[in-house]
């Protein structure tokens, strides 16, 4: 007990030998992003681990929208937020209804719908993008933010329904039966029994859809193109159009854009991890 044995030390050393490179690999691109954001323009490229004169000047420029690429920063941030929140809410509403109907009300044809949803889940997102883009054109929705919201709901809903169905299948039937004995209607059952019991899974799903929409780039730049309607990632992508892009401002804006999802993830981590992995582990 006095000193750790040689074996314990070598085990610890081996673990550190994995852990340290892993930490560097994981954090380097994110740290690089952060470093650019707090560096003055001239010294951003110096390759130093910490700038000589760290500054918040880049943030001021971004917040005041003082660059050609940033003229609509606040509006695009708002667009991102709006689209993410509406997508999250709509997905939650649609998926809860569908999962409840399939799993608890055993609606006729529910299995078919579940299988179609699962099939949709397995369409690679980029494969659906082109026909989706053309279809949105036919519907006259291009450049309308509803196009992106509906596309995101379409992509988020299958997984949402599947996860909710998996968890709701585990709720005992006796609960429904007791509620029915008490004369509960289907909607009362949904609202007073199902939703409270499913709350953790619902939080996970709502967050999942919200983050999916916030993070989306491909569909956003396909479906929206006006500077005033696009989301922030599309605005970031526009920086790439020019060779003399102000990289320090791009990185600063990128950092601001990356913070909310990271924060949300850490706040809801418990729900997210269990909600999102339990289905997969069963498979």
């Amino acid at each position: 007990m006095k000193r750790p044995s040689l074996g314990a030390i070598t085990t610890e050393a081996k673990l550190l030998l994995i852990g340290i490179p892993l930490a560097i690999w994981t954090l380097l691109p994110i740290y690089h992003l952060f470093l650019f954001a707090i560096s003055p323009k001239e010294s951003a490229f110096s390759g130093k681990l910490w700038p000589d004169h760290p500054t918040l000047h880049n943030f001021v420029v971004v917040f005041k929208q003082e660059h050609y690429y940033l003229h609509h920063f606040w509006l695009q941030l708002w667009n991102s937020l709006l689209i993410a929140v509406v997508t999250g809410a709509l997905t939650l509403l649609i998926a809860t209804g569908a999962a409840f109907a399939i799993s608890r009300l055993k609606v006729r044809g529910g299995r078919v719908v579940m299988n179609l949803a699962l099939l949709t889940y397995f369409i690679p997102a980029a494969f659906l993008a082109v026909p989706m883009y053309r279809t949105m054109g036919l519907y006259g929705l291009l450049n309308n933010q509803w196009a992106l919201i509906l596309a995101m709901v379409t992509i988020a809903a299958p997984y949402a329904i599947w996860v909710l169905k998996q968890s709701s299948d585990q709720l005992p039937v006796e609960l429904d039966e007791a509620a029915i004995m008490d004369g509960a209607s289907p909607m009362q059952l949904l609202w007073f029994v199902y939703v409270p019991l499913m709350a953790p899974a619902l939080v996970a799903i709502g967050t999942y859809a919200l983050l999916l929409a916030w993070n989306e780039y491909l569909y956003a730049f396909l479906l929206l193109s006006k500077d005033t309607t696009v989301t922030l990632p599309v605005g970031l992508g526009n920086f790439l159009a020019a060779d003399d892009s102000p990289w320090e401002l791009l990185m600063t804006t990128g950092l601001i854009y990356a913070l909310p999802p990271a924060a949300i993830y850490y706040v809801f981590r418990r729900y997210m991890v269990s909600g999102l992995t339990q289905g997969a582990v069963k498979g």
Partner: protein
């Protein structure tokens, strides 16, 4: 399938056997499921059918196979899937073993390790892209400082550029799959390991006879699911290389968008149709596995 569902299942007769025949339940069930069915028809069924309709002309396929960029993209996609995904999944498998070690610092590391997956890809991929910049990027600056020689022109060589795109993909999605496999490992009953220890099993034997048999199915499912998702991974390639140099690093996901921009939607859809014979068996496998 509908008819089998409406048949009363004798085994499942519960306290309220007539429930599914009671109209309020079916009515409300229909009302609740209809919004999703509308979404499904408007934004999945119709676009997919429309896509096939666009891809109906044989000459699109002739043109497609004449296009050297398509052949190159198909090979790139295959490399991306077969090499990239397998490296990623083996890494995830090994790392899941690392992360279940009971150490406080490993717990903290696992919290940080999730970051690449938790943050949006655009800022981090652009950050990586800038790190790889041959003149000002931090990597070549360091190479120059240490060796006194110029580093490689990372994104101008198609082989290195594609490898870097694969690395970016791994960087981004490794945490997720590690998390899945950690959950899988934690679900293995602990007494299996204890009895293996009693029998004097080595670490490798424990892995071979306890861990792997329990994880095998999950590992295979994860690999195939990851392949399908990676087919749709547009960002790793587009944001890092943009398909360049000289359109040599495209994958199917970015090629489709390239054709769309060139106003050759039929080619874009034809490329997807050509990929279907390879994708559908994977989808079929996953459907069987997950639709229980």
């Amino acid at each position: 399938m509908v008819s089998t569902l409406t048949l009363p299942e004798s085994g499942a007769v519960r306290a309220v056997p007539a429930r599914r025949w009671l109209t309020p339940w079916q009515t409300w069930g229909s009302i609740l499921i209809v919004p999703y069915i509308i979404i499904l028809i408007l934004f999945v069924v119709y676009p997919v059918a429309y896509g096939f309709w666009i891809a109906r002309h044989p000459h699109s396929y002739v043109e497609l196979f004449d296009d050297p960029i398509f052949a190159r993209s198909a090979v790139n996609t295959l490399v991306f899937l077969v090499i990239g995904i397998n490296i990623k999944m083996v890494m995830a498998l090994l790392l899941s073993g690392f992360f279940i070690q009971a150490r406080t610092w490993i717990k903290w590391l696992s919290v940080l390790f999730i970051l690449p997956w938790a943050v949006p890809s655009i800022p981090t991929i652009l950050s990586l892209r800038f790190m790889l910049n041959p003149e000002w990027g931090v990597i070549n600056t360091l190479i120059f400082r240490i060796t006194g020689e110029d580093g490689p022109n990372w994104l101008n060589n198609p082989t290195i550029a594609l490898s870097m795109a694969i690395a970016v993909h791994i960087w981004k999605s490794l945490p997720f799959w590690t998390l899945i496999l950690i959950a899988g490992r934690l679900a293995i009953p602990h007494d299996l390991y204890e009895s293996a220890s009693v029998d004097g099993a080595t670490k490798f034997q424990k892995f071979k006879y306890v861990t792997w048999p329990s994880l095998r199915t999950l590992y295979l499912t994860s690999t195939i699911l990851s392949m399908i998702w990676t087919l749709g991974d547009f960002n790793s390639v587009y944001l890092l290389t943009g398909g360049g140099p000289a359109d040599l690093t495209h994958v199917l996901a970015t090629l489709g968008i390239r054709y769309l921009r060139l106003d050759q939607v039929d080619m874009s859809m034809a490329a997807i149709v050509v990929a279907l014979p390879f994708v559908l068996p994977l989808v079929f496998f996953l459907m069987k596995r997950l639709s229980k």
